[in-house]
């Protein structure tokens, strides 16, 4: 437990060491936030309700999505893949620490940093300019829990497409494919509720929805009571499932490495 805490601190520190990057990134988040908000406002000029959202929900959605973007790290992460490609994974594996556990702890240290420094500033700007919706205290707690689960699901997924580097030479191609799919189906580009019904149903079957769409819907109060428990449960299940598959993949990959004498 103590070890996990130490690793998490390193995760935080790794990103806290570059405050300029955080501010610059937050600025970019704001720019995109404004653009997307206006696009959706234009959309709502023709209708008052789309997929169960009103204009306030939609704009809040945009700013939450921009705020959560770095927290759940939907863009490409390939640190592990690079270590596999250049062989330093061998050193990692020689230590008495499961790499998956390491990266999970690391990410759980990183996420709070991004939540605070990349999440809150853009959201505040959005709140200042637009009329956003705010959750009740119990929903806020549920929201934080949902974000935590989303981070784990995201890590589980990122771990998977990184572990693929054991087998696939061009890990960047896999990266691009995974990130694009994730961006689209997580609800980052547009709320899944706006999708045509068949596409939305399909999207909700995938784990990506648990990364962005679900936490935001929890915040907006779209899930209450038993429904809320159910949706959090789905997130948790995906987290466990992805981590389990990742674990297996890592073992298989390691075996391949040992056999090839890497």
């Amino acid at each position: 437990m103590r070890l996990d805490w130490e690793i998490a601190k390193r995760g935080w520190g790794r990103y806290a060491a570059y405050p300029a990057a955080a501010w610059a990134g937050a600025f970019t988040n704001c720019v995109f936030g404004f653009m997307q908000a206006y696009v959706l406002i234009a959309l709502f000029r023709h209708r008052t309700d789309v997929g169960g959202y009103d204009v306030g929900d939609a704009v809040t959605y945009v700013w939450l999505a921009q705020g959560l973007l770095m927290t759940v790290y939907v863009f490409g992460w390939d640190e592990l893949a690079l270590r596999i490609r250049d062989g330093s994974i061998a050193t990692d594996l020689s230590r008495p620490l499961n790499p998956q556990r390491y990266w999970l702890a690391f990410d759980l240290g990183r996420a709070p940093f991004h939540f605070i420094f990349r999440g809150i500033p853009p959201f505040l700007i959005g709140a200042f300019v637009f009329d956003l919706h705010y959750p009740t205290p119990p929903l806020a707690v549920a929201f934080v829990l949902s974000v935590f689960l989303a981070v784990v699901v995201s890590l589980g997924f990122r771990f998977l497409y990184n572990v693929a580097a054991f087998w696939i030479v061009d890990h960047r191609g896999v990266l691009r494919l995974s990130v694009t799919a994730c961006l689209f189906f997580s609800g980052m580009t547009l709320p899944l509720a706006f999708f045509p019904h068949w596409l939305e149903t399909f999207a909700r079957l995938l784990p990506f929805a648990s990364i962005v769409q679900v936490p935001i819907d929890v915040y907006l109060g779209k899930h209450t009571g038993l429904d809320l428990v159910w949706v959090l449960g789905v997130q948790a299940s995906w987290a466990v499932a992805l981590l389990a598959i990742g674990r297996v993949a890592l073992t298989r990959g390691t075996r391949k490495l040992v056999v090839q004498g890497g």
Partner: protein, 267 residues
């Protein structure tokens, strides 16, 4: 001038040959980029699944804007969007190697890379644009035809200038990327939709400070025969090439300043 172009072709050709060494990987990459970029346009289609018009524009009209903007941006990115290369050169000190050679540094940076994979994005833009042409009613005049052909080159020049300015930021901060992304990729996203939808201040910012509106929006107004809700004089629709040239000049100046800073203070 011709000689410089010939040498550019050789340098870029060398990079292309290096890319093609991994032939299978390259084809997969190109196809994947092409297909995946459609997901981006899919978002536009999904919007229109919910409403018939967006700020008075039909889906084909928005596609017209999106397509032309995508083609211009992707081509510009292909030619000068080499932020990773420049960041690496600055980090490892190999930028100095460029300074020891008898050629301009921006020229060498641009010529060293031509990531063909990005053509996938260009193709996607083209497909969307053709879809748009199929669905809009353009009152073709000689002027409009000329505008159509001028739109993409001016767009490329304008976006390329923005990219060069973004590259300049890297000389001051390693994290220059994070900041410039707001303008490069942000600039592209902005031009995909009619700027009518943006709030007053953002519209003015877009039109006057960061001239992305000139890329496709104003020419599109002319081509599609729409009225400018901003109420600007009609001449604005025709000055895109001038704006592009001015931006190129600004970009060149910015680069010179950046390298001067590097040579004066860094290394």
């Amino acid at each position: 001038m011709a000689e410089s172009f010939a040498v550019y072709c050789r340098l870029a050709g060398a990079n292309i040959r290096a890319q093609l060494q991994y032939r299978v990987s390259f084809v997969i990459d190109l196809t994947a980029t092409f297909l995946l970029s459609f997901l981006d346009f899919l978002a536009v289609l999904i919007l229109f699944h919910n409403v018939p018009r967006l700020a008075g524009w039909s889906v084909h009209e928005v596609a017209f804007l999106y397509g032309s903007s995508a083609i211009a941006f992707a081509l510009a990115e292909l030619l000068v969007g080499h932020s990773e290369q420049l960041a690496m050169r600055l980090r490892t000190g190999t930028f100095d190697v460029l300074l020891a050679r008898p050629r301009g540094t921006l020229y060498q940076v641009a010529a060293s890379e031509l990531p063909l994979r990005r053509l996938g994005r260009v193709l996607q833009g083209l497909v969307v644009f053709l879809y748009a042409l199929a669905g809009v009613n353009i009152d073709w005049t000689l002027g409009r035809v000329a505008m159509l052909f001028a739109m993409v080159p001016t767009g490329v020049l304008l976006f390329a200038s923005m990219w060069v300015v973004a590259l300049c930021l890297l000389f001051w901060t390693v994290d220059g990327n994070e900041f410039s992304n707001a303008f490069t990729y942000g600039g592209q996203t902005m031009t995909q939709y009619p700027i009518d939808i943006y709030g007053q201040w953002l519209r003015r910012f877009l039109a006057y400070l960061v001239p992305t509106a000139f890329v496709c929006y104003f020419p599109s107004l002319y081509l599609l025969g729409k009225n400018d809700p901003l109420g600007l004089p009609r001449i604005v629709q025709f000055i895109a090439p001038l704006v592009a040239l001015a931006s190129a000049a600004v970009a060149g100046l910015a680069w010179r300043t950046a390298v001067r800073h590097y040579r004066g203070a860094g290394g």
